[in-house]
Symmetry: C2
Subunit: 354 residues, 2 copies
């Protein structure tokens, strides 16, 4: 971050404990507090600050307002072979996604693959948290979610898709997983807010005004551009893939029909869908063949020549480095998050980590 | 195409019959001739000319040289619950992919989802052909394949990934399917060859020289850029997802280990992998809910406001329009393809459709 003077650092353990305590103080059950905190800490430890603990304030507003059910009765509402539907009872999206991925892994253990569609859920944070969860248990994991309509179509001038992330993780024996998590927009919307909080200009061709024309001032952004610039039909198509898997296949709200994440209504459940999948490598190919393939792929990648002034990294490599650094240096908290932590600490009689 | 003077048109039925006859004359079995022709005609009818009948000459060289087995004994070599591995016996990639998708649909019928890893295969053409095949039978279809190393990493200066396509299709009741097929490179390599044949310059930021620096002359291209420009880590990550599913999960060759598609060796099988998946919407959500969701999604998309001078289309819409036009006007054949057709006609005592 450029505006380093405004950023405060706090030990990861203290930030984590604070988030958990705030959730419980706000009336959430232990499972919700654990899952939501784990997902936010995934973002804050790995450098995905747009989906890190800056979301705490938002999540507490959603639970306090009644939009998100802090004591959900999440159930598998439908099962068929290797697939299932999880009804999240309007609980926190992170709890729903971890639960759904647990079921997907059980299905993958017996069927080679498992896919779980999530109904009646809410914002789940960083999709990569759930793909990573699967890969840490030896499975290939995929996670998708649609979200507030904020991204134009390739030739469009309307907020149409959400930033609709795609995440994929694969286990690598003896190494951290291969971990990939991308928004199908040119940038995530949370990054627009972060840049605005930090007083930074946006890069070219990532966000647009109400006519779909690209602009750079984060305060004036009316919609994001789909990934791909001149080839934005690819980003828009990928967003559509996510929309179909997350919303259509769950019978939930399409992005443009969702109540806005940021209110003013914090009382009505938003009816978000999501979709997770796990695959057992050994069901397709002997484990040692899969492991040798992943190792060779990464070995050649990491030793391949770079463009001038650059360094080649595998998806996830930057994240593991950031996590190491932050485990030493602490979690950076932007000014808006510091303020929110102070307010929440005061409201619930807790001590903010900054 | 801009160089319209050099393009000749031939009726789709005649082009199709010619391709099939050439395959059989070159010694391929009927199943191979049918599948390879169907896949090429998918490209040529829908406007994906880079993966259309311009590949006939190449495929015949591969069968004549022995690289591709014209009489393969394709078998399911491993089955586990909802997943399977198809050993393609070094046959044509299109036959392998159609067969694998047929099995994936059978698995989806009983398990809600089916995934099939393809081993010992060869170039399969347009990935969209196989996703479309599933959607035409009422399933959500996905197809992936790695290919000759030709795309640099985001910060890389080496041919690393193939153009590694992602395709996805979903059935829409009473309408053509939602059909999406993208290369994870900024453009497909076959388009570089097509532009070269037509004497056109490449757009900005899609292809690079040996140092990974972007250039516009198709004749000087040493590698392609990954999708995303400044955000090329996304295109590179998606290519990695395809690489892991297609090559690692099948125990087949990584893109950078593949023998080159364009020879000089046309005798040695290349050991290509691929990956297909089918999902049964009704296993996740009642069919009428899925159908209503797809219809609403497409209705809002097609009636949404466009950027100035543009028109909003769903993935596949352009392709269906092109197919209608070509069914009337004929299949356009570029000069190199016309020459190849003439050579093949002479060699096998057939009549070229142009």
């Amino acid at each position: 971050m450029q505006a380093d003077d405004d950023v405060a650092y706090a030990p990861a353990g203290e930030v984590e404990q604070f988030c958990r305590d705030v959730f419980v103080a706000a009336g959430a059950d232990e499972a919700t507090a654990d899952a939501a905190t784990k997902a936010m800490m995934h973002g804050s430890r790995l450098g995905v600050d747009s989906h890190g603990v800056r979301l705490l304030d938002h999540y507490i507003a959603a639970i306090s307002g009644g939009r998100v059910n802090g004591h959900p009765d999440m159930r598998i509402s439908q099962s068929f072979g290797a697939v299932a539907s999880l009804d999240a009872d309007h609980g926190h999206g992170a709890l729903a996604a971890y639960r759904a991925m647990d079921r997907a892994m059980e299905l993958a253990e017996t069927c080679g693959i498992g896919a779980v569609s999530i109904r009646n859920s809410s914002h789940f944070g960083a999709a990569g948290a759930y793909a990573l969860h699967a890969s840490q248990h030896g499975y290939i994991g995929l996670a998708f979610c649609n979200s507030d309509s904020f991204v134009r179509l390739h030739d469009g001038a309307m907020r149409f898709h959400g930033t609709n992330p795609i995440s994929f993780a694969a286990p690598v024996s003896g190494q951290p997983p291969w971990l990939f998590d991308m928004a199908t927009s040119a940038i995530p919307y949370n990054r627009v807010k972060l840049y605005q909080s930090l007083g930074r200009e946006l890069p070219d061709g990532v966000a647009s005004d109400a006519n779909g024309k690209d602009i750079k001032d984060p305060a004036l952004v009316e919609m994001l551009a789909p990934l791909g610039g001149e080839f934005g039909f690819k980003g828009a198509g990928l967003a559509g893939l996510v929309e179909i898997l997350s919303a259509v296949l769950s019978g939930m709200q399409l992005s443009f029909d969702l109540l806005p994440m940021n209110g003013p209504d914090f009382a009505t459940p938003r009816g978000l869908g999501a979709f997770v999948m796990a695959m057992k490598p050994g069901a397709f190919v002997p484990d040692d063949v899969f492991e040798a393939g992943m190792r060779r792929y990464l070995e050649v990648l990491r030793s391949s020549p770079a463009r001038e002034g650059s360094k080649v990294m595998a998806p996830g490599d930057r994240e593991w480095l950031v996590a190491e650094e932050r485990d030493r240096q602490g979690i950076p908290l932007d000014p808006a998050t510091q303020d929110a932590f102070a307010r929440l600490a005061q409201r619930y009689g807790l001590t903010s980590p900054v």
